[in-house]
Symmetry: C2
Subunit: 521 residues, 2 copies
Amino acid sequence: MIIAGTPVTGTGPQIRGFDPAAGQQLDPVYRYGDANDVQAAAAAAAEAFPVYRATTAEARARFLDDIAARLEAAGEGLIARAVAESGLPQPRITGELGRTTGQLRLFAEVLREGSWNGARIDTAQPDRTPVPRPDVRQRFIPLGPVAVFSASNFPLAFSVAGGDTASALAAGCPVVVKGHDAHPGTSEIVARAVTAAVADAGLPPGTFSLLFGTGPGLGTALVSDPRIKAVGFTGSRGGGLALAAAAAARPEPIPVYAEMSSINPVFLLPGALGGRGAELGRAFIGSLTLGSGQFCTNPGLIVAVDGPGLDAFVAAARAALAAAPATAMLTPVIAGNYAAGVQKLAARAELVGRGEPGGETTCHAALFTTDAQTFLASDDLQAEVFGSSSLIVRCADTAEMQAVARGIEGQLTATVHADESDHDVARELLPLLELKAGRVLFDGWPTGVEVCHAMVHGGPFPATSDSRTTSVGSRAIERFLRPVAYQNVPKALLPSAVADGNPDGLWRRVDGVLVSPAEGP
Amino acid sequence: MIIAGTPVTGTGPQIRGFDPAAGQQLDPVYRYGDANDVQAAAAAAAEAFPVYRATTAEARARFLDDIAARLEAAGEGLIARAVAESGLPQPRITGELGRTTGQLRLFAEVLREGSWNGARIDTAQPDRTPVPRPDVRQRFIPLGPVAVFSASNFPLAFSVAGGDTASALAAGCPVVVKGHDAHPGTSEIVARAVTAAVADAGLPPGTFSLLFGTGPGLGTALVSDPRIKAVGFTGSRGGGLALAAAAAARPEPIPVYAEMSSINPVFLLPGALGGRGAELGRAFIGSLTLGSGQFCTNPGLIVAVDGPGLDAFVAAARAALAAAPATAMLTPVIAGNYAAGVQKLAARAELVGRGEPGGETTCHAALFTTDAQTFLASDDLQAEVFGSSSLIVRCADTAEMQAVARGIEGQLTATVHADESDHDVARELLPLLELKAGRVLFDGWPTGVEVCHAMVHGGPFPATSDSRTTSVGSRAIERFLRPVAYQNVPKALLPSAVADGNPDGLWRRVDGVLVSPAEGP
């Protein structure tokens, strides 16, 4: 572990990285921390907070850029370790490193652009009757130290220096990461890079810490620590709900941004299915088996009207699936949960086909089918199976497709494949889907989340614990900020974001109107 | 009650309005509703939601304007009833009606301005390698039906058509109000005006309902109803925490915006106190006794360095207080709670003085003092006493004032009185106060909340259950919205907020850059 700049070996149980492709344990040995380590990291973060939040946006942008550069410098060694600890192919991890550094640089860009300040000025009207209007100004300030829980499935992009950490650091919040057991070595390399960047920037060492430990033990202690003011989490529904419950039970409740569970329904509309059923079936299996299906956005549900188009889709999917090699899963535990989830589906739905069989820790991809009425009557058929597993729901007509859209839980994504002949059906479906999902996409597959300004990686419960935000894209910084109003504060004491003369060069809302940096007070 | 346009008399216990100034019950009799009424209102709201949210921003703006006009038309009768049911003076209620219609019109203005859509467009890059960048667009959509709990202390501005209702309706959310027992007649008049506006606009009747009932009974049932997607509440800490717990315990948790408890510390810095201690003392009592102290922003804590300046302040405050007449409190229950709170303070702090004594349902204003160490060691001394009651904390020096600033809970407001000679002290204090409060104000008093774009009426727990928002000012609409991303959605199917050609004439963020309605795609 690294607590406020100092490497610390815990006193708890030993853990080691595990290479799921080779089936062997990796050196060195790591050890879990305990409540004392949580205390130390949280205390250091609280001490760092007033100093870190007072840094300029430019200073934090340079800091994030520096972390990105250091991760790139760690390059081959970092990639090799992440490949070994995840069983994911090297091109995927190389791409993920690019995404991770891209996220850090996106938030540096966000900091420099400045709209995150939410600067507003309502000018005084001293002569207003019956009472004068005061001068009121508003900006956003950071919430305080943030606890980040790494995900297993993105050892770089949703881990130690992933999106949650990048957005929290950008907001001005110190970060305490609970590293994931699946990749302790990767976590250490990344944490050392962040720690070096903290030191080089002259920031307080408590700006960043990395801990190891169990979720129920160390994780709950971290979320319950009074100095922690918000939580970012990507993982299972059970894990996310436990952290949300711990946060709600605090004397001072705090926001929890838990990204949890989604089966990412894909609606194949009649025109698209009729014209290119087989092509869609093959592409679907490509998305389903990518990364052993270990994506939050894996297409776990196909919804379509029964008929020759769907038959062609199913036949092509079955053939593509049969040729899909068994690929390593992230950890033996995840492989075990996957096998159990598939077994549950097998008891409730009809098997369409499976991929090539493999060993105990590989993903033996599985595809099932059922009818809409059975699906709508069963909560179990809606449960996420983490890994390459999907269920085709056969509908009698497009009205039944709409009923499925109404009947599903909240999702990260909802996908529609539509030809122009389908637009009338799609127009009816779209409002239903946007109420259920954070992202609605057409004529593609949900895997692959673009890191950009307009992205929403979020959605109604249980996809996340807080649908008002996104964990990917530039809006993610807003999760760790809150507005403060300054009324009649003397000009000499105003924060620069809302000071006269606009020293930070920001877009500001003045008396309700957006004003560019070139204009305005 | 009015459920989806239809007047309904409940089957529960009877309630009646009560005139606290005259000490007499008012006609007519009202009756509490029950779980069936909650079901009916929630079902109607859910049915109304898809239709109501599909209205244009202009249609909703006209609807809000119409509610405002109808409240003005209700004029004298409405004001008279609110005065009778609250015991508040007529000029105050007349002003509050203006504030209420002003809030409705502010949200109409917000709707027409359009930035609430949060429209973003990231353009496609089909030639990007290794993978093309999709077209991604983002806008905000409403959460769904909202439950609003009226406050006792603002029978118009924080009640049936108050800020929560106005902002939720603006967002596109149907509203189910639980009216406050303290003003059922006022609630009925306002609800009839809203209902008429719903009908005139041709909106679904379920867009608005008013229920009566207890918090633990009907209120909890309302928050627990699966069709309700967010909650606005203004009231006690106990009430807010109970609703937050009910919301967190749902199978699908929902956001609760509860404004609860704040003692609104006022820091008198040495220069200001030395120069105008007596003047400040008199002004303080004016703020403390306004509306019998029944404001969320009542100044319940004065923090200052001991010495001749503070002595002058205290002497002037004591004299002004002694001349302050006993004024009616909103309800006998509130008067009883006030008396008990004052008694608790009296057991733990030294009495400075009291206002004129009155009857059982009047506010017998009270002022106490203690030293900083005693204050910091006692949670009881930080408890809000709803009504004209305040505690002066005598500090040894400005360092001890800072210790008090660090030691207090979250607040709606923090006030500083400072002369130019105090700016160095104020510069140290300001960062501490902005971490504790939603609004920091200088050289005024916290009572009186300007309804404008930059206002924050919110703050860290326990001031509110969610410090990331405000319940007053134009940003309040954001509480009831969430972002949705549209990826590669066919142009013919895109929502107008993010459609090509910008048909809604919005400011939009295009590839990360703010673009005015006159420019851009």
